[in-house]
């Protein structure tokens, strides 16, 4: 009832772990997968190791709303091979999130990811606080990076969009034209918290990306708009913390959803999401998940 397809990727449930949440360790990724995720996205991985930003790098700003500037800390794709192997050995469906400084690096990392056995590539062209990864603010460059990665791997390619742009629909369309297989919407929204006693921004990087509860209405709007403008599947992401939130994204047009911040409370959320969504489908006399996707668009 909950099966869904993201291009050639067949998922048992439409609930996917978002990138950067618990995505460093292969064992953890496997654990999340077996807790009921249809797939897991790794932490964004680049060509070489990166320290990322200093602490504070993740804080809670409102209940269940967070601000982070991790700065794409990652051990580099070569070292990450070991983690992918651990996850794959346990049957995990793993989407490797990829970023690069130069366009060419996206291609290199993706190629390596394919060799390691990743099931799909998510292009992180959207991180709002790391300068090296802001391709997603530009339609032209988005289409270039999609084309390039497409040419280097056979895996399904998902573009993760940056909401901090004037016209996200234009960027999604150009990614679609360039052959991207699906879109994840959205990454975090730029924000800042200043401590009035310390008289400075709290994050070491000063500003960061807002995730969690507060992001939902922004993300739902994007998914709703994209559903009317692109034909490829949309993966909703932003502020999902229970099945009602997930259903809101399905009605808006998402074929699957990613869960990030809400994971901090525990992995049980996947059970709750599946149970609640199934019950909603039954009570609303729908046949299956596909039947409710985009339903909010019908007058």
């Amino acid at each position: 009832m909950l099966e869904t397809n993201i291009a050639s990727l067949k998922l048992k449930t439409p609930f996917i772990l978002a990138s950067g949440i618990l995505g460093v360790s292969g064992s953890t990724l496997a654990k999340v997968f077996h807790a009921g995720a249809g797939a897991v996205v790794s932490k964004s991985i680049g060509p070489v190791p990166r320290q990322g930003y200093n602490n504070p790098s993740v804080i809670e700003i409102f209940p269940d709303t967070f601000l982070n500037a991790v700065g794409l800390a990652n051990p580099g794709i070569d070292e990450f091979a070991g983690e992918v192997k651990i996850a794959k050995d346990q049957g995990t469906v793993i989407i490797l999130s990829v970023f690069g400084g130069e366009l060419q690096e996206y291609g290199e990392v993706a190629k390596k990811a394919e060799k390691m056995g990743a099931d799909a590539i998510e292009l992180n062209i959207s991180c709002p606080h790391a300068h090296i990864s802001c391709i997603g603010a530009d339609a032209q460059r988005t289409s270039e990076v999609v084309r390039l990665v497409k040419s280097q791997t056979h895996l399904p390619i998902i573009a993760k969009l940056n909401p901090n742009v004037t016209d996200i629909v234009e960027i999604a369309r150009s990614a679609e034209k360039a052959g991207v297989d699906a879109i994840t919407a959205i990454n975090t929204v730029r924000g800042m918290l200043i401590d009035i006693d310390a008289k400075c921004p709290v994050l070491a990087n000063k500003s960061g990306g807002i995730s969690g509860k507060l992001l939902k209405p922004i993300a739902v709007k994007v998914v709703y708009d994209l559903f009317e403008s692109v034909k490829i599947p949309i993966i909703g992401c932003g502020g999902i913390s229970d099945w009602r939130d997930a259903v809101e994204f399905f009605l808006a047009g998402a074929s699957a959803v990613q869960i990030g911040s809400a994971l901090w409370k525990g992995f049980e959320i996947f059970t709750e999401l599946a149970k609640g969504t199934k019950q909603y489908i039954v009570e609303n006399k729908a046949k299956n998940l596909q039947d409710i996707i985009g339903r909010a668009h019908k007058a």
Partner: protein, 285 residues
């Protein structure tokens, strides 16, 4: 509780050893202020704070003292830039506090044995003081490289005299107490227990290799519940970023821990062997 740092003012500082300083302050977690400005935040010994030094760093530090409703203490060993800066502050100066975070020790009814190495005594202290308050008589095993490094030594000696706790201590150079490793002293202490009574509880904190040995010892003596507090690099401190995960169970030291039972630790191949750096790179301990 909202897990964002809140600036507090240092009320008291105690230079415990030549490299360890305790800092005391009043603090109510953001979002826990009730109408009277008071707090009823639940705290379990073993939990920690993320301590924010504006413009510098935020680092995990265990709670080493708590007097409800809002008086807290931490004990910090200088090992690098952030800990040096923290210990260099003065009474009246400020730093940021986020938490308490993580899970704590299970405070079971048995008096228990508390085994700490160096600054490892810090998270154990609130548990020990709670036992003392509850008129139980815990056993404390303290160890350090040399006498002047023995944390809370004076305090525990006093508790031994006045409240009848069993206090043992050892130094590697023999400058204070028995000469030798803490784990050796621990074995001697355990051997003192009557052979038929099963030892109910052993809590440990210190260098991870010491904890590995402590677990071995606990198993040898068939201790009913062994718990140890681990340290890993941290970012979020609340179970989100995954940096502190220990494989293969994928347990988050900041959320599922920092206190884990011996049973769980046995399943962690990382325990005593591997830690992650800030990049996520895994290296030998």
């Amino acid at each position: 509780m909202i897990r964002k740092p809140k600036l507090i003012m240092i009320e008291k500082m105690v230079h415990e050893t030549k490299s360890i300083v305790s800092l005391y302050f009043h603090y109510i977690p953001a979002g826990c202020e009730n109408k009277d400005g008071q707090s009823t935040v639940p705290f379990t010994p073993g939990q920690f704070f993320m301590i924010w030094l504006p413009h510098l760093d935020e680092i995990p530090i265990s709670v080493s003292f708590f007097e409800p409703p809002d008086y807290w203490g931490i004990s910090v060993k200088i090992v690098g830039e952030a800990t040096r800066a923290l210990c260099g502050l003065h009474v009246g100066e400020q730093f940021g506090v986020r938490g308490p975070l993580g899970s704590g020790f299970e405070i079971i009814s048995s008096p228990g044995i508390f085994f700490g190495g160096g600054v490892g005594l810090a998270p154990l202290r609130p548990a020990i003081l709670r036992k003392v308050r509850d008129k139980q008589k815990p056993t404390v095993v303290n160890c350090a490289p040399c006498g002047e490094d023995l944390l809370f030594h004076g305090e525990f000696e006093q508790l031994a005299q006045e409240n009848g706790i069993d206090y043992y201590f050892a130094t590697e150079d023999g400058s204070c107490g028995c000469q030798g490793l803490g784990t050796e002293l621990l074995v001697q202490v355990l051997e003192k227990f009557p052979s038929k009574t099963r030892i109910k509880y052993l809590a440990a904190c210190g260098p991870e290799r010491m904890l590995v040995k402590a677990l071995d010892i606990a198993e040898k003596f068939k201790v009913l519940l062994f718990q140890a507090s681990l340290e890993r690099m941290m970012r979020c401190g609340m179970g989100m970023c995954g940096l502190c995960a220990i494989d293969p169970l994928g347990l988050r030291v900041c959320k599922d821990g920092p206190v884990f039972s011996g049973e769980v630790l046995r399943k962690c191949t990382d325990f005593g062997r591997k830690v992650r750096e800030f990049t996520g790179h895994k290296r030998d301990l």
